[in-house]
Amino acid sequence: MQKHTFTISLFVGIFALTVLAQFGVINQYLQSVIMLMGVNIILSTSLNLVNGYMGEFSCGHGGFMCVGAYVSSVITVLCFSKNQILGAPLLPPSLALLAFPIALFAGAAVAAVAGLVVAIPSFKTRGDYLAIITLAANYIVISAIDNMEIIGGPRGFMGMNATVNGMKGLLDIPWMLLWVLFGTVFSVWLLRRFVTSTLGKGVPAIAQDEIAAEIMSVDTNRMKLIAFMLSSGIAGLAGGLFAHILGYVNPHSFDIMKSTEVMVMVYLGGMGSLSGATLSAVLFTVLLEVLRPLEIWKWVVIPLLLILLMQFRPEGIMGNKELSDLFPKLKKFYSFK
């Protein structure tokens, strides 16, 4: 029983948050902060797979998030809102609950395919050169959407609220909060399962020494393909959730600034640590909110904190350790396969 404490408390926590939000104990603002925190956790843990576990330097994570955001938004808008492309909505709003996860998944799948743009060159390039390619991928995605008039181009794309309202029509609970919490748990679970699996051990092997890994029978190309596609796919999921939280997307919300933010979260948390990436995403989101009243000084304080952290703890908050490595007693409370 004790072994399941963590899993049980996780789901009790989700339930409790939803109930508190439903009865207004947690107000809209805090809900919004929690949701963005979830999105940031998904982003930082997924980028951690590439930048942390695999030791590559990807700085185009925002681009994949953008693909996921647009694909899932276009699907839900076509299905549930009046739009310029098809006119009347395709489906009645009562189906929103069913269609929303499918749209999210489709967004993630297309983002994973977009990850190929980076994965295939990664067979032959490494390090700085690959970093430039990931940067280029980010720019390609944003410029492509800027030039697609049908989905609004630089004006952005909206209409996703109809889907959220459709779900609310079935049952009036804070659906987006629930989806984000589930999405976060699912992403972290999936990444953890992958990096601790026999197959997934190949990813840190590439980080250690690619040639040695290949000699030891790791199919490095296949590992890179999987790692990049998984990472960008999960970023796409984060994008889909982000788009439906805001009800509006603009390609420039996903530019190099966003990618940098995610990178900061990864390096702050520690490369190759899922609990580190989670912790730093929470910390980063909270810092941004708490320091909001400082206005321009916020951008002095936050970078200064980063510099101090890197000075005294260059491996990030957790280094490459998990929380359970530092507090071995925690192991009593969960049993992960």
Partner: protein
């Protein structure tokens, strides 16, 4: 040791979370709180700063007189500024924070459409009146009864530029250079093209070229434009690019005039552009040089106080805030319950048919978008934006 560090970090995190929850819980009597959702950091900090300065000036004015008189009683004003970092998600958070934690009656801003559209959605869902001073994208107020704005829309500014240029330059053909990644620039360029071709016939926009937001070199596009020999070039671009574009066009041998849009109207334009910009025209919300009455008073006081001539966003924020204050006064009473108060303020805002602002008279007809006059200004040899003509909607 390592365990210690983590424990400290976790504690800090928990405290910080608590701080978020507790922030903004204070309550005041006889105070009217208005929220400002501004771009104080990020890409366009000058815009947020100008808005904040204008608002501060207005607040000091009214509080010096003892406060805003509503229903025979004076209430002090309290303005709450939230920085939205010029990011869409941050603007939503800022709006929700103002609504739920700061308990403001109404929100002014965001200015830029990228932030104003999602923040408008949040305000509308939470039934809080919002007025965007500067946003020109139709989606900001579309189907949103709680959202208003103080600026005219691009579909109005495009024809103003086309008609003025046709008359002033006697032009038959035109060329357009715009920023494809900037929704404002692109929208305006397209509206202008449609309008110009309606007037002068198909094919009279002899070159329609685009560039990217951070481009510094426009010679490829300008070579094409100069080769097409237009009578003038329409440049609906931000002031920093305008300075580069005009210089590079002159270097390529272009002698004709330029026509611009309201994004030219920054105090920085002349510092960057120098003598190359003298004599050019652009359409905007108000003319700082040669202004009269209340507008002149505003400009003079702002200039003395903050040491630079206010640009249009400062003037529009002044108007947007005064619009909200007028609505609060017209509601006639202050409800104890913040939700009820927001409702009466919204109804009063929707009830305002005409408002005399320093950027001209605004007429509202139930959509939240004002119908108001644009002005065309010419850049004088001293680098001032001089009033040339006022163009009103028919």
């Amino acid at each position: 040791m390592k365990g210690m560090t983590v424990k400290v970090l976790v504690t800090v995190l928990a405290l910080a979370l608590g701080a978020v929850a507790l922030m903004g819980c204070g309550k005041g009597e006889d105070v009217i709180k208005i929220g400002f959702n501004l771009e104080l950091t990020g890409d366009i900090p000058k815009v947020g700063e100008a808005s904040k300065f204008a608002a501060e000036m207005l607040k000091e004015d009214i509080n010096a007189k003892g406060g805003l008189e509503v229903g025979g009683k004076k209430y002090k004003l309290e303005f709450v500024y939230q920085d939205n970092e010029a990011k869409a998600e941050s603007a939503v958070n800022a709006a929700l924070k103002l609504i739920t934690q700061d308990n403001v009656v109404a929100i002014i801003g965001p200015n830029s459409s990228k932030q104003a559209i999602p923040a408008g959605g949040a305000c509308n869902d939470n039934q809080t009146p919002m007025v965007s001073p500067w946003s020109t994208n139709p989606d900001t107020t579309k189907d949103r009864p709680w959202v208003f704005r103080a600026a005219f829309l691009d579909p109005f500014q495009g024809p103003v530029a086309a008609n003025f240029a046709a008359k002033q330059f006697g032009a038959k053909t035109s060329a357009v250079l715009f920023d494809i990644a900037n929704d404002y620039s692109k929208g305006l360029a397209e509206i202008f093209k449609t309008e110009w071709e309606k007037k002068s016939g198909a094919g009279t926009v002899v070159a329609f070229e685009s560039h990217g937001t951070k481009d510094q070199d426009f010679s490829a596009q300008l070579t094409k434009i100069v080769a097409a020999k237009p009578d003038f070039i329409f440049v609906p671009d931000n002031y920093n690019q305008v300075a580069l574009i005009i210089k590079q066009a002159r270097d390529l041998g272009y002698k004709g005039p330029f026509m611009g849009s309201d994004a030219w109207g920054s105090a920085e334009l002349m510092t960057l552009c120098g003598k190359e910009c003298i004599g050019q025209f652009f359409s905007t919300h108000y003319a700082a040089a040669g202004a009269q009455g209340a507008t002149k008073e505003f400009i003079d006081r702002y200039t003395t106080k903050y040491k630079y001539v206010p640009d249009d966003v400062a003037a529009l924020t002044w108007d947007a805030t005064r619009l909200v204050l007028q609505a609060i006064q017209e509601a006639g009473k202050i409800e104890k319950d913040i939700k009820a108060e927001r409702k009466i303020v919204r109804d009063a805002l929707a009830g305002i048919k005409q408002f005399d602002g320093i950027t001209g008279t605004m007429k509202f007809s139930g959509t939240g978008d004002p119908s108001k006059c644009a002005v065309v200004v010419q850049i004088s040899p001293e680098g001032k934006f001089e009033f040339k003509e006022s163009v009103c909607p028919q």
